[in-house]
Amino acid sequence: MIKPRFDELIHAPTRLSLVSLLAATEWADFRFLRDSAGLSDSALSKQLTTLEDAGYIEIRKGFVGKRPRTSARLTIVGRAAFEQHVAALQEIVAKAGASVLPAT
């Protein structure tokens, strides 16, 4: 049973998108995250650094051939925080009744 806990760091719209993408992946490429979230390189780097500083994600830098490749994934802490945040959101919606249920 996941204990609901609202997480302000995750709830910011851009970070919510990024963490949601990462929650469905083992690893996600920097370019995939950038294009999916519609961010510039610098804006994505800033958001990833924020999440990394919080211990929510792990960033892996490497090379494919001569090209640098950056990937990110949720840490165990990040995944737990995300699941608790989702549970908190579901709780808020549940308390309000079915009129605001999301169309997923």
Binding site: F6, H11, T25, E26, A28, L89, Q90, A96, P102
Partner: protein, 160 residues
């Protein structure tokens, strides 16, 4: 803080989360062209071997190996450049579906090819592989659709 979040905002956030997860799942499908490419390469390779002429066998083998490497490499490169979905999204049902598809494809192909061979039907191997090719072209995209549906159903949130 939770009290400050309106239910509508929470619902929007949950929708966003669901859409992002779906985005990842939709991305990881093996494209239809891949199944066609492998099917054509298999039939071409078998036809080349069936000629039993060294030159054709050599060319057919080279084209098959290079073709499989290039097409598979391209699909894998695309996957690496984007994102690898969580392994647990597939679940045991997905693994069973994949193994079942492989077993069914091999089983049907053998069930067609061996009797043809026994009755000395000419080009039995090509006919057998052609059946496999059809199964791949038809069944591959169906399998992908099924796996996508499974992963969408297994999204965390609906699993709890």
């Amino acid at each position: 803080m939770t009290d400050q979040v309106r239910p509508e905002e929470a619902a929007r956030a949950l929708t966003e989360i669901g859409q992002r997860r779906e985005q990842v799942i939709r991305l990881v499908v093996i494209p239809t062209w891949y199944w066609w490419a492998i099917a054509v390469l298999m039939v071409g390779f078998t036809a080349a071997v069936d000629t039993r002429r060294g030159l054709f066998v050599g060319i057919g083998t080279a084209v098959f190996v290079v073709g499989v490497l290039v097409t598979t490499g391209r699909v894998m490169f695309r996957a690496v450049r984007s994102a690898q979905p969580r392994n647990d999204l597939l679940g045991p049902g997905g693994v069973v579906a994949i193994l079942g598809f492989v077993a069914f494809t091999i089983g049907v192909s053998m069930a067609v090819a061996f009797p043809l061979e026994a009755f000395e039907v000419s080009h039995a191997a090509i006919i057998g592989v052609s059946v496999t090719a059809v199964l791949l072209v038809v069944g591959g995209p169906l399998l992908m659709r099924y796996l996508q549906g499974l992963m969408l159903a297994n999204r965390s949130g609906s699993r709890r």
